[in-house]
Symmetry: C2
Subunit: 337 residues, 2 copies
DNA sequence: CTGAAAGCGCTTACAG
DNA sequence: CTGAAAGCGCTTACAG
C-alpha cells in the first residue's frame, strides 16, 4: 500500500533518504532523520515492494528449487513425492535459505518448460536442481546463467557445482555386507540405469562389490523400474516365484525396499531367512517394517544445508571455482539382513 | 537479458506494440506485425520480466503456501516435515497452481514474521495457509488483504474461506468402530487440544462416540503431545506398563500411530490382541507396519486441488461469498483392530 | 547530510 | 493499426 513516497512525505524528506534508511546506509543520513524515518516506518507498517527493488537492483533474493519431471508428476497418478526424502529436503532447503534472507520458489519442470526462462522471468538469483539426467540438461537446463547447484546429478561433472551422496560407495557397502554375511545370489532393484545418475552409480558400486568378491553377475539379477512402493511390491512377488535364483537384494531406496519386503512376505518368503534386503536412504520408515530395514544412511537435512551453503558461497563470490561435494554414507544394520 | 525495447528495435516498432503482441491483444496489431514480432521473440528467446509486469499490473501470479511454525521447524531438531502428508500436499498444490499459470512460493512463517508483509513484499496474489491456530491468527495472519484459503484451520469459521477434513466424523468413526468391535477402554493420543483445531475436532468426535456408547471418559485416557513418531513410541511404552487400563487407542495421525504400535510391540504387547489401534490420514506407510494400520482415510491430493481451485475462484471473482468445504473421511479397516 | 533526476522493464490510457 | 509518454516503487550515481 504505502510506498516509499508516502513515508518520505510523512517524514518531510526525499524518498532517496528513506531508501537509505531502509537499506541501513546510515552513514549517509543524520541520526535524527534516521530515528524519525524508522519511527514512521514502524507506525505505518511500511514494508518495501521487493519487485521494484529487484527491477532496479537486478537481484531478487529468490532461489528456485527445480525438480525435473521427465517422469510423471501428476499427483493423481503417481504419488512419488510422498517419499519422506522430499519433505525433509524441502524443509532443510527452506529453513537454510530463510536464514540467509532468501525466498524459496518451488517448481517441477517438465519437458515443455525451459528453466532459463523461469530464471529470467523472476530474476532468480540462484537455482538448486534436484536429480537431473543427461537429456534434461540439453533442453531444460541449458544456458541458465545464475549460480546453480546440482543435487544428486552426475552430468557434466567437471563443469557444474554439485552435491552428491557417495552413491557408489553405498552400493558397494550394501552389496559387500550381503556377501560378508554369506549371500551369493545377490540381485539389485533399481530405477533406470540407462542414464548416468544416482541409480547407475549405486549399480556401479553393486557391480564392484560383486567383482571384488569374484561373483559373476547374472543378467536376471537386475530389476529396473519406477522407484515406487508398488514397483517394489511387484518385484517381491516375482522373486517369490523364482526364489531359488536369489538369496539377497540390494534395493535403490528405502521406499522401494519396503515395497519389496511387503511383496516377498505376501507371497510367503521370509526376510532375511530366505532373502536378505538392504535399502538406501536411512529414512525413519525403515523402522516401521518387520523386519526393520538394513539400509545405507545419508543425512538429507545436511544435504539440503550443504546445497544452500554452496549456493550462498557462489552468490557472494566467495567460491569461484567449481565445487563438488560428496556426502558420506554409512551402513545401518538392522534386521532385514 | 533482451528487453521489450530490444525486440521493438529489431522489429522496428514501438515497445507498446510488442507488449500488445506478448499479451495477445491481437485486435490491436496487424497480422504482419504480429508475425514479425513473434518470429523475433522466438529467435531471440525473449521472455518477459515478470517483476516489471507485476510492478505495473499489481499482480504477481505468485501464490504463497504458508505453514505456521509456532512449533519448531528447525529440521535438525524436528523432522516432522518428513511426514508424507506434506510431500503429497505440496505436490498437489504446485501441480494445480502450475496448471492455472501460477507460481508457488513456499515458506514456514514463525512468530517474528508477519504474513501481510510478505504478501506486500512480493505482491502475492493469493495465500494458502496450512494448519493455523488462534494465537497465530492475531499476529502473523492479520490484515492479509488478498484471497486466502485456510487449510485444516478452525479459526474465525464464519469469516474465512476454508477447507477442512471432516475431522470430527473421523474421530467418531474410529472410536465407534473400536466400540463396535468390543473395546471399552479406549484411549486417545493426540497433539495439543488446547486450541481449537484439527486435533481438538478429532478429539470431539472421539468424545461423542464415547458418549453415544455410554462409556465414561477417563482423564487417564488422554495423551497429548507433539505428533511425531517418537512421541508415539513413548506413549506405546507407557501404555505397556499400564496395560490393564486400556484395550484400544484412537491416534491422531498415521505417523503417530505407527510410533505407538512400535512402542507397544517393543514392550511386548500384541496389536490388536492386547490393544487395538486406529490412525488417521490413510497414508501408504500404514501398509508398512505389522499389523497393517486401520485408519481414517482422507484424500490429500484432492485436498490440495480443492485449495487451489477455491483460491482460483476467489482470484477470478467467481466466488464472492465465504466458502467452507469439507472433505469426507472413510474408515479403512486393516489389521490393527 | 540531503535532494532532484534518471532508469530498471514493463503496461496503459490517450492521440493520431 | 501504431506511437509517445507517464508511471508502477524502488535504487543509484551525481550535485550541492
Amino acid at each position: 500500500m504505502s510506498s516509499i513516497i508516502e513515508i518520505a512525505r510523512l517524514a518531510k524528506v526525499s524518498k532517496m533518504t528513506v531508501s537509505n534508511v531502509i537499506n541501513k546506509k546510515y552513514s549517509k543520513v543524520s541520526k535524527e532523520t534516521i530515528d524519525k524515518i524508522e519511527r514512521i516506518i514502524a507506525e505505518t507498517n511500511y514494508t518495501p515492494n521487493l519487485f521494484a527493488r529487484s527491477l532496479k537492483s537486478n537481484t531478487s533474493k529468490i532461489v528456485l528449487l527445480a525438480i525435473p519431471q521427465t517422469i510423471e508428476n501428476d499427483p493423481y497418478k503417481n504419488k512419488a513425492f510422498n517419499n519422506p526424502f522430499y519433505g525433509e529436503l524441502i524443509n532443510s532447503v527452506e529453513y537454510n535459505l530463510r536464514k540467509h534472507g532468501y525466498y524459496l520458489m518451488f517448481r517441477f519442470i517438465n519437458e515443455n518448460e525451459i528453466l532459463s526462462n523461469l530464471v529470467i522471468n523472476w530474476n532468480i538469483d540462484g537455482v538448486i536442481i534436484l536429480g537431473a539426467i543427461e537429456k534434461e540438461m540439453d533442453v531444460m537446463f541449458k544456458e541458465v546463467n545464475v549460480p546453480t547447484v546440482y543435487l544428486d546429478t552426475y552430468i557434466d561433472i567437471a563443469k557444474n557445482d554439485m552435491i552428491i551422496t557417495d552413491d557408489e560407495k553405498g552400493g558397494f557397502l550394501a552389496t559387500d555386507y550381503l556377501y560378508q554375511t554369506g549371500r551369493r545370489k545377490i540381485g539389485i532393484v533399481v530405477s533406470s540405469i540407462k542414464e548416468v545418475g544416482v541409480a547407475s552409480k549405486r549399480y556401479d558400486g553393486y557391480r564392484q562389490a560383486l567383482a571384488s568378491s569374484h561373483i559373476d553377475f547374472q543378467a536376471s539379477w537386475l530389476f529396473e523400474g519406477f522407484p515406487s512402493f508398488e514397483f517394489g511390491d511387484q518385484i517381491g512377488k516375482y522373486i517369490s516365484s523364482h526364489k531359488d535364483q536369489y538369496d539377497a537384494l540390494f534395493v535403490y531406496s528405502d521406499i522401494l525396499a519396503l515395497g519389496v519386503i511387503k511383496g516377498l512376505k505376501t507371497y510367503g518368503l521370509r526376510v532375511p531367512e530366505d532373502i536378505a534386503v538392504v535399502g538406501f536412504d536411512g529414512l525413519y520408515i525403515g523402522e516401521l517394517s518387520e523386519p526393520k530395514l538394513t539400509t545405507i544412511k545419508q543425512d538429507i537435512t545436511v544435504k539440503g544445508e550443504m546445497s544452500v551453503n554452496l549456493l550462498m558461497r557462489k552468490l557472494s563470490g566467495e567460491s569461484t571455482t567449481v565445487e563438488q561435494l560428496k556426502l558420506p554414507v554409512e551402513l545401518l544394520i538392522k534386521e532385514s539382513t
